[in-house]
Symmetry: C2
Subunit: 361 residues, 2 copies
């Protein structure tokens, strides 16, 4: 018996999810480069590669360092890295030992990257991809401007791999298909802006977990050559509520114990320090219980989740009952844990290290 709270991964569902996404990528004709920010685990990354992933996506130089140390040799930092100070030297060291691609969304950013890697007596190879904004309005330039940034990067002497976007506006009700459409349109415009300047564009990279169902690649005349879903190994309450995957596909849950009961309400011994405080405006609560689809987590503090159960006469579960909670956003929940407990046929069989927990720099 393990003390709660902890994060549990159902190995069978993990494999179902890994396999299904790999099949989907093959079907639509794109390379799968999963975003490892979700699991932060070398073990799970290796499983993704075994299912046919071409490499990994990461969010930070520190994550890239962890996975490079884990022997993964093809990494894309899908982020406009500002390569200054110690980070410049870290990027250079990474590029010297793995095939590295880094995001850019400014001429200055490209210049800093080039300075970090191509200057001096021993230049190291680095690829860049220009980030474009396909509707999420975070980082990324207007798609038609991608060529200008790419041309500057090429002038600075770095390898231009192509273009990418994150259609994060797929994280809203009924927005999955339209976000995939926006993504395809923005990436086509961006690719053409490179080609128009005579710059090759081998990589056209997109894909969030909610939008990949509606994405198309080479097999259907689509623009994508690569997709970077992150959440799909585990899924979570957000994906459930968006309709990406039902509760039967949620492979990671937080296990908690009921510590206080009043009527139809129970409080369990986990909170935002275990499942994160993420709550989109459209979420129905602070997480969901796959085994109790009508229950709602109506309040969350650091070590308490208050769960309202359906008023069906049964009341709330008794003190001491163990419950499983799907976090709203599994990426931030995993980043709070040092390890994930892997369960097979109802038994804990292994512990997987969250190797890149806290790797933010």
């Amino acid at each position: 018996m393990r003390d709660t709270p902890y994060l549990s991964v159902d190995e069978r569902l993990l494999e179902v999810n890994l396999s299904a996404m790999a099949d989907h990528a093959r079907t639509i004709g794109v390379d799968l480069r999963p975003h490892a920010k979700t699991h932060k685990s070398i073990e799970i990354a290796r499983r993704q590669l075994a299912h046919g992933a071409v490499g990994l996506t990461v969010a930070t130089v520190a994550e890239a360092e962890v996975f490079a140390d884990g022997g993964i040799d093809d990494l894309f930092i899908a982020y406009p890295v500002w390569a200054e100070g110690p980070r410049a030297e870290r990027v250079r060291a990474l590029a010297s030992r793995v095939r590295l691609r880094v995001g850019i969304d400014s001429i200055e950013g490209a210049r800093m990257l080039a300075q970090a890697t191509t200057s001096g007596e021993h230049p190291v190879p680095i690829g860049v991809a220009v980030e474009v904004d396909s509707g999420h309005h975070r980082t990324g330039v207007e798609p038609a401007q991608a060529g200008i940034i790419a041309a500057a990067a090429a002038d600075y002497g770095v390898r231009v791999d192509g273009v990418f976007t994150f259609p994060g506006h797929s994280y809203a009700p009924e927005a999955r298909a339209s976000a995939a459409h926006d993504e395809a349109h923005a990436l086509a415009t961006a690719r053409d802006s490179l080609l128009g300047l005579g710059i090759a564009c081998a990589v056209v990279s997109g894909g969030s977990t909610p939008s990949v169902d509606a994405a198309t690649g080479r097999a259907a005349g689509g623009v994508l050559t690569e997709m970077r879903p992150g959440v799909y190994p585990f899924y979570d309450a957000q994906q459930w509520e968006l309709g990406t995957a039902g509760p039967g596909r949620i492979a990671l849950t937080a296990v908690a114990t009921v510590v206080s009961v009043r009527g139809t309400r129970a409080v369990v011994d986990l909170g935002s320090k275990v499942i994160g405080a993420d709550r989109q405006s459209w979420a129905t609560g602070f997480g969901r219980l796959p085994a109790h689809p009508d229950a709602r987590i109506i309040a969350l503090s650091e070590h308490h989740a208050t769960i309202e159960f359906a008023d069906d006469g049964a009341g709330a579960p008794a003190l001491g009952t163990r419950l499983r909670i799907a976090p709203n956003h599994v990426c931030t929940a995993v980043n709070l844990a040092d390890e994930l407990v892997v369960e097979r046929d109802g038994n804990d069989v292994a512990v997987v290290s969250v190797d890149a927990r806290g790797a933010n720099t």
Copy 2:
């Protein structure tokens, strides 16, 4: 030069905050037992004790273990601990080496605690305090029921120290004083329900950081004997927006670099994996910038914070600029970090370990 993002603590402000709260506790005549869930640091706990704190409050058995290992020998786990499985033995081991008080809010919880500590050949001393609900509606029984729980605990053979509450409804605009009033009223009722059954009630414990200004203790005829504020060493954007402490008292900030700029918007290289996703309904954004009080963090993802700057013609800060962000909720931000960088007179002078990071069980 340290790569961003990281958490920085201004040592001078930290000392100002520690000193001011210790003075306030003395003035109103209560013992100060700070909640260590905020800083999770043995070093900062020692500073609190040096300022006169009588002991620490923690939220979990695991936090208690960390601080006991750090030599702190008077601990209150202000949580209705469910002492089953390995946790029962852990509570027993703790009680054998420090002066330990644990929360209860059910007869069954009291029985489990007693079984863990007083049964067998070598009973260990443990105190309990009954948690009552003063308006936050989380854990805790109705104040008038406290005596019944206390009587059961006494029958089971554990030491009854008194009663406690967390007036968490102080975390709302204009609610600080009324929450303190509710707290005093609930605790007086709870204390009287113990006394009415002939049970001594040495400890009457309350106090959240927003409500302590309006709390009264022995020095003013108040009911409190002890208060347990947590956030005050650092303060944060929530406390700023609640009016508890202005930006000039915020001792902890996350240091970030601008990586992308468009017009009056800048994106910096930190997100919910550094400052947490906490956002109360009344918050004006996902954190605040003490040096830019008019700026608002309008969007937050795992590694991006999108900041809208005032449209005063100056535009957003340039690429590469370093900015300091006060998290909305400092407790969850600290729990994401392995260390805090201590700054004195603008120089990094030390690194403090977040010893109890992730100590959730």
